[in-house]
Every structure is written in C-alpha cells, then in structure tokens.
Symmetry: D2
Subunit: 332 residues, 4 copies
C-alpha cells in the first residue's frame, strides 16, 4: 500500500485524487488546497482528508465551515509519495519541502524539466523511472504527442515530425483568461516548447508550432510524421494503444465539443477524455508522410500518467501491470 | 406502470429518457432518433429500445451497425405517453400522429402554446394538468422564471416583474450556431416572448427583454420583482423550493462555467443543473423591489418537469408525490 | 488656443488625441506613452510630439527607433490642460503631478469620483464644470446612460430607472482578458456601480445590474424608465440629442458587430461609434414605462465628452458652442 | 476606360467597388445588391449607381427609401467587365447571364475552378490570364499561400509545402455562424481543399490541413516549406513582395486583433489588411525547412487581386503596371 498525498486540488489535482482513490495498492492520505471553495467542500464530501496548503490561510476554511485535517506539512508526514498539482512554477518552490519530508514526488508538466530526476510518460519511458525519487509527468500536449509517436517509432521507425498545436485559451472555468475573438501564434518564435519537451522523454526529430484560440474544451493537433508505415499499419499500431482512441465515422463527431458530449453521454466522470482522441477519417499516409488530427483533453489526459508515475517511483509494478490496473479502475 | 416513449433523442430527449428510466412507476418502452451517431449508440448501450424516427432513414442505422427495434409508429403502439423532444416546430407536426396512435403527449416549450391542451410547470399548475390528453412543458427560461415567481406570488404576492435574459447562443456541441464575438438584443422589439410564455401558466404582470451572447453553458437572468416581502422572506420562500438552489458565497462561484464545474464535481450526470441556480449574494430588496441573478441550465432544467408532466397527464400521482419522487430519483 | 496634452496613448488616449488635434481652439502639445509599439510609431507618423510616460523606460523608445520629445514632465510644462487616459487607478496616482505642474486635468471614468473636483457629462452638467481645476469624464456606460436619461428628465420628468448592462469582456486587442464561453453576473451583488456613478452627475433614482460576456465590440443596455412621456415624445426628445443616434429598421442591423460594420462603411475613423446607438424598433412605452436597447462603444463614446471637458475647464466655450464644435469636427 | 460592374455588394463586393472607383482607367458603372440595408444606403451615399440584383425584390429598395438605377441586367448592359462577388455558388449560376450580356467576368474563390477560363493570382500567373474571357480570383487563403510560395519558388526553388490553416468561423458581422467555444478539424479528411486550389495556379507539392475556430478577424497560417534558401534570403525575397508585409518585433503585435488595431490606427479603410501579414520573428530556417506564421485578412486580401484581374482580362496593363497602379491607389 503506497500512501499518496495530492498537493494542489484544482483542475488536475482533484482528478488525480479521484483516480488514486480508485487504486487497490494506493491509499489517498490527503489533499491540500489553498482556499476554501466548492472544490474543497466536495473533497470533504468525497471523504478525502483535506489539508490547508498555506498555513496562514487555514482559518479561511474554518470560516467557510470546512473542516481541515491540518497543514500541508502534516499531510506530507503521512505520505510516501506526493503528487504536486499546484499551478506552474509552484511545484519547483515545493520541491525542497518534499525533500525535507523525505517523500518521493510526482510533478506536472508546467514545471521545468529540471524539477525532477526524470520526465515521465507511461508509453515511452516507464522503465527508466522505476525507483526514481521524483519524476515530472510531461504536459498534456506532450503526453498526447508521445502516445502516438512512441509506438510508431517502436513498431515502424519514424523520421521528422512536424506538429501544429491549436491550444485552448484556458480551462472552462478560468473566466479571467482570454483570448476573446482572437488567434495568437503562440509563441511567435518557432519552434514552440512542445518539441523539446517531447525530447526530454524520447529521442525524435520534432518541430512544433502553436496557436492559442478562444476555446476551453480541448487542444487539437495536426500531426505530420515521416514514416515508411502504411495507413493500415499506423492504424493497427494505434489500435493497440490503450490510451489512443479513435473517433469513428459513425460517431458523427466533428469537433472537440462533440467529443466532450460523447464522453458525458458515456458517463465518464466530469466528461473526461483520458485518451488521445484520433479521428480515424483523418489518418492518411502519402509519399511516406502520415497526417492525422487528434484532440487532447488538457484537464484529464495526464491523470492516468500520474497514477502510473506513482507506481513507477514507488516501484510497486512494472509498466504493463501499472497501465492495466490504471486503465481498469478508470474504465479506459 | 406507465409506458413512456421518447420521440427525439438529442439534448433534451436523452436526458429525459434517462430520468424516465429511473422512475419506479414508469417503463421506458423506447426512444426514437432520426440519425445514427454516438448518441444512438449510447442509447443502445444503456439498453433503451431504439426506433428510427424517420422510416426512410432506418437503413442508415443498420449501415452504422446499430440495431433498431422498429419505426416510431411501432414505438407509439407500445406507449401510453409519448414525450416529444424533437426540434422546435416538429412537435406540432407530430401531434396528429400521436392522436392517431391514441397516446397522450408531452411537448416541449419550443412548440407553440396551442400544440397541447395546457402548458405545464410543476410548481405553478400541476393540478390543472391532471388527466389532460397533452401538455406542453414550458421552455427552460420560462420554467426558470416560474419556479421563482410562483412561490413568491403564493407566499407574498407580487406586482410587476421585469426580467432581462442573457441567453446562450447554442448548446455546447451546436458548433454551427453563433454568434462569435457579438451581442444581440433578441428580439429587438420589446418585450421578448418569455413574458407571454410565463402567462400561459400563471397570471402575472411581466415584461422580459432578451440578449443572445457567445456562450453555450447556461442562460442567466437579471430579475426584478415588485413585492412587499423582505429579503429574509424571499430567501425563506425560495429555500423551501426544491428546484431552486442557492449558489453560496463560500462556493466562490461567480459564473456559469463555475456552476457547471461544481455540478461535474458533484457527480451530476452530464454535469446537469436541474435547479435554478440563484446567487444568494445577489438577492436584494429595496423600496419594495426584489433583485436577483439566476442561472438556468437550458439542457436540463426541464427534465424533472417532463417527468412530472407524465405523472400529471397519466394521473398517477398528485403534485407533491410526483415532485418528491422525481427529485429523489434524480438526486435533487 | 488651449495647449492640451494627452497622458496615456492607448485605446482612449489615441482617439482623444486625434479629436483634440481636429479642434480649432486647441493645440495638441504632446502625447505620452509608457512603451514603444505600433501605436507609438503611429503617433509620430501623425505628427504628435511623443513623450515617454515613464522616465526609466525612455531608452526603449530609442531602441525601437522611435524619437521622443522628452519625458512626461516636460510635456506637462507645455500644457494648460492634460487629459489623463491612463489605465484605471493610474490617474489618481498622477493627480499630484498635474497639480505640481499647475495644469488643469481631465480624468477618465475608471478613476474614483474623488479624483477630480467634479464628474462631467456634456449633456448633463457642462455648466457646473466651467472653470473647474479638474473634472472626471464618467465612464462609457455612465455616459451612455446620461445621454438618454438627462434629456428625458429635462423634457418629461422620469421616475425610477432600471438598467441591465451586458458588458464586453475586454477591448478587441486585449487578448489577455476573458471570459471565453462564460456569462458572469458582474458584480454579483446588486446594484452595480453604474447607478451610483450616474448620480455623481445627475439626481435620479436608478438601479443597475451588470453582466460580463465573451465579446469585445460594444456594451449593450436594456433600459427601463418610468415616465409619463409617450413613445412619440421619447423619440422626439432623443432625436434632438446629437449624441444619440437611432439604428433604423431599414438599416437591418441587429447586433453590435453590424453596428461596427456600418460605422466602418461610413468611413468613421477606427469604425468608432461616438453616439449612443438606440434601436428605434426597441423603443416601447406601456403603462408608464419606457423600454429600449442601446449599444455603447466603450472605446469611443467618451471621446467627444473629453473634448468638451477641455473647453469646460478652460472656460473657452459654453455647452452649446462646445458640443457643436466637437460634433462638427468629428462628423457627428 | 474599362466599364466595371460589381454584382454582389457585401463583404467583398463593397471593398472591391471602392477599389475600382479609385482606379484611373476604370469606371464603376454600378453595383448590384439583393436587399436594401445600411450597405445599400452607403453605396448610394458613395455615389455608386445601385441596381437590384433580384428583379422581384426591387420594390424593397423603394420601400426602404433607396433609389435604384435599374436591375442587374441593365447594369450589365453598361459594363465591359463584371466582378461577381456573390455568395459561394451563386457566381456559377450567374455565369450564363454574363455570357448572354457579353461581359467578361471575374469570379471569386468560393466558386469552383471550372467557373472560369483560368484561376488567377497577380503574383503567380497574371500573364496567363491576359485577354481571357473570365477568371476566378482564388480564395483569400489560397491567395495568401501563393503570395509567399510563388516568389520563393521563383527565387530559390522549393520542395514540399505543408501548411496548417487556422480559419475564422465567420466574418465579424455574420452572427449566425459558429462555432462558439469549439475547435473543428475542417475538413476532417486530410488534405483540405486549399492545397489543390493552390495548384490551379501554380505547380507545387503542397498538403494543407485546416481548423475552424471561434474568431472572426483573420485566418492564420503555420507554413512549412522545404527550401535551400537561408533565412536572410527568404526575408529578402519576401521584402521585395509588395503584398507581403512583415509584422515587426517593435510593433509588439502578437495576434490578429492587434494587427487589425494597427491597420485601423494607420487609417486603412475598414481597417483592411490587403497584404499577407508575416511575423518577422516567426521566420526560421533549419535543416532545409522554412517555417513562418502569417495572418490573412479574409475580407480584403483579394481586393487588389480583383482589380488586377480586371486589367488582366481587359488587357489594359501588364502585370507590373497593374500591380503598381493598384497598390498606389490603395496605399499599399
């Protein structure tokens, strides 16, 4: 039984906590949050021990009628592994605290690669991370790229990769974020950071460009990969990947909103799409180049990766065992 | 046991079907849909007998590998009550078919008032609809207005009502609908139809104005009501209404997207908000005028009303029994 | 000849500078800006002496190849009146600097009422501001309300006013601002500050509620006014107001974007709509209550007011002379 | 003097009419429109003879108080060249009418390639179109691609081209069009039609993928071109192209909305950006592959091309003369 704490209980943290709570070999010893709100109340309703992430603001929870179990330091005392799901950059500030409490740590992709011993992706380098003191689960977009590129490289070999990422401006409830009615090349200098981020985990020649647009539901990638594989071979490889799912012609789904609607209809918690959603009709290969479109749910695609990362650094399962267990509990 | 069919399995129909399937005294004999897509597939996965709404298109289901149980006519043969959840205006075209099959019918608010014997709202006029051959559940916005106005009138009496409705442009997956980056007074002539629609159910002096904006999640109302009640009395009345829910200051929820996030966190199916969501902090009374803001989930607030409407016309329960049963099964 | 400086050369400042430059009795002695960008370059191309608003950042202009004429202090030495068009709250910080340089000042509505001797609106209280050391031009929305309410009160008398303001989330190029796909009652507590802001200039019983939506072009008001005037009388009064313009049925214009399109087609600089745009078809009077919709261009409706404010505090013209001169030069 | 008529006076037609009216060697004999609205009124105010595009609706203009000069047939009697700026597909229906009146015709890119003798782009194949009976100005996106690809091919030779087009959902005032809060791979099958459309004018190996997003201002391209040219050579080539403009680092412009703001500040009519707007900072060349971002103003980039197309088919100027004259009159 691995005692797991989740520091940061927002978009990612709450989903990861739910996933951890479902695992046989893990005990969710607590979640920490900076401020009381509906999410904090919901954590308590779900029976998660709730800790105040910032000592000085602990009183705010009491004022809001929400019981806390202590401070983040006390939570760490009870944990063997902490999953840091704080906003980008805060994880790096927390790293020494985790060291001080002698807990292994899983960081998120908003942190710099240097925050942890290794960057992590369950498809690509689970084995390299077994027993590490800390890992960093690469970002949602990087995870999405790796889930396709790693198996293609493994089965067929790939050459240059060129990807354009059309990214959402913010998550659904981040109403302070824009843009409204605008398209931003982002960053303007090419390439974007996603290519180098892929290379923290996998050796591949990749260039990425990115856009930011007024949408909140999912990112979408236009992916171009030099490969000798045929369309049928590409599809066969991807069909074998449990975290790649095809959007089928008969689904009659042509947008990110329709994917989310389909997930909600299927009864997925919060309508989450943990897998890469690849439009089958978009997969095309011509003159040694593969093209495809995939949608990536920024709020949830790293959730199963975080669970696997815990097993990897705790050393409690090998890759296949972990992925199978995670998938089964989530219903992937 | 009332045999209920749902004709039209889109945004409203699929939700109503799920709700009907939860009721002790109802049997969902089938749902009918015009075209095969992920929703049709999901209906089958949920175990609902699926019928082709348009005979000529039945083959499309077979082509998509989706089994159908027959045509809409055959579905109606098995039903005592049909809930028509077809697009606006189609219900009126279906009315004679329902007559021909001698099934009682529940229509939606997109139809004209004349489509049915009476317009219906569980708060306001359940009793008047008992035993009717057909009723029309008033639209999402009208339902939202009635749930507040009827209890206030009943408990305290009200004078003039003035409401401004800020309406979403389309539902989340209706990507063909706008506007993008625009605000439309809609309609430009004042008043909008919502006031008259309220009066199909309740006698009140009400004027409404409406806007259409680039959002998909919920409508929001700014409501002004002349009343002698105090703020405390208004709140007490509304707290007694099971289908009015207060957004609390400690929720720290300031927008429609945050309400939806809260519903998803609570595990509501599809993140549905069946109740009027009234911001407690917005409730103010001065000089005999009440003001408040409420958010209305256009996809789901009429779902419990449809269930109650079935019981009303089937004559199987009185108002309090029906509302209690519907609420309990849904988890309101 | 009044020597006028404009401190802050963004959305409002650049428009006000252009308007000042058109006036016979005014000399635009300079504009000040914090950072070099396309707007700074354009100021130079228009022949406006450009000053560095922040001394420490003056080098950035040189680095960008943009000549500056000095610092803001030097600009103020040359001015009799400064128009402060800095971001909200910065004006208050600048006030003592203006005092030190003994220049009269015109502030914007983002500042608190206390920043200046009086709040100002050309329709409502020009006369009260003649000769003042400083005035504050009330905000775009407040200006829009006053242009309708003041003449109605003057000609017919009005009772209670209730207004709902559907506000844009940011200006077109403010891509950092949201919301995306959300509706916010804003503020959640009722009333919004707009009613009290109207009362800094005019004595009227007014309550306002506000929303923020994902749009950038204009605000739109749903206005309700108790009055004994008939529809014809209301229209006659508003037709006499030079800064109220009717959107005519034959324009076939039903949204803010179409209004902007119409302004661009008419050749207005930057597509500006300096006047309140009132949909004629929306004007209705029943039972002693007037309703109407008006769109307010947040980027430009205060531009003519700023020009008039300069004449008022400089004491160079009475109200009618000033409004006539301003309108003529702009082409209103 | 070439007598030019413009059939269709909407987004493209009104801009093209203005541009034609500015040309020394052209006489704008009339514009035709289907319905009276603010644009029709504005055409009359600009002194353009206005014709009713649909005979049966001519009375509507009279009812709206707008004088018309006759029907579209009468307009064609007066013209040597007609520019068809009707909605996509209507041009093809009009083709035989133009033949019947023996007028040469310029069609837009919404029509199929077969509508005209040749597809046209001033950079790429002006000479091939001289004296043709009809040409089709390729669409805004295709025009934008050709303006970069043709000179690069001419000066340096290029290999494969891969482009991802992030497209606006509708034009600013098309409030009936979506999406709201969604991203659509569009079309889902790869490639999109833009690559083949480029090849109607220029022989190049190009694959394009497209997205539709909730924005109205401009399209943006992420362009990848195999070439042996260095970054400096690419920039030199593009700097020589009059209809390619660099967005400079010192402009501090990072989005389509900021480009439009810059155009409005520069006093461009309607804020039009007739040129491709290429971010200089985005231009990068590595391993024989060029990357760049460019924004394309869908409402106006084909305007100069239409003017040139008239000269080409009328045979009144060669390419360089025409481009120079068009650019000078517009102020490019």
């Amino acid at each position: 039984m691995v005692d797991v704490a989740v520091n940061g209980y927002g978009t990612i943290g709450k989903r990861v906590a739910d996933a951890v709570a479902l695992q046989d070999g893990m005990d969710l010893v607590g979640v920490a949050k900076t401020k009381p709100n509906f999410e904090a109340r919901n954590a308590v309703e779900r029976g998660y021990p709730l800790y105040a992430a910032v000592k000085e603001r602990a009183d705010e929870f009491a004022d809001a009628g929400i019981d806390t179990a202590g401070t983040v330091g006390e939570m760490l005392e009870r944990a063997e592994v902490v999953i840091d799901a704080c906003p980008s950059g805060v994880g790096a500030q927390n790293a020494s605290m985790y060291d001080d409490h002698d807990v292994k740590a899983v960081f998120q992709g908003g942190e710099d690669d240097a925050v942890a011993e290794r960057s992590f992706n369950a498809s690509a380098n689970y084995g390299d991370c077994v027993g590490a003191d800390s890992v960093r689960v690469v970002s949602c977009n990087t995870t999405g790229l790796l889930r396709v590129l790693h198996p293609l490289e493994r089965d067929h070999g790939i050459g240059k990769v060129r990807a354009t990422l059309v990214r959402r401006g913010g998550d659904p409830s981040q109403h302070g974020r824009g843009p409204i009615n605008d398209i931003l090349p982002n960053p303007i200098t090419i390439p974007s950071h996603h290519g180098p981020d892929v290379r923290t985990v996998m050796d591949v020649d990749i260039t990425t460009t990115g856009f930011k647009v007024p949408a909140t539901l999912m990112h979408v990638h236009s992916l171009n990969v030099e490969t000798e594989a045929s369309r049928a071979e590409v599809i066969e490889t991807l069909e074998d990947e449990s975290r790649v799912r095809f959007v089928e012609p008969d689904d009659r789904v042509s947008s990110t909103a329709e994917i989310k609607e389909m997930m909600l209809d299927e009864g997925r918690p919060r309508g989450d799409a943990w897998e890469n959603m690849v439009w089958r009709d978009s997969v095309s290969v011509e003159d040694g180049e593969l093209y495809l479109f995939q949608a990536i749910h920024q709020e949830s695609d790293v959730v199963p990766e975080n669970v696997d990362a815990v097993r990897a650094i705790a050393g409690t399962a090998d890759r296949d065992e972990s992925v199978r267990a995670t998938n089964e509990t989530l219903g992937i």
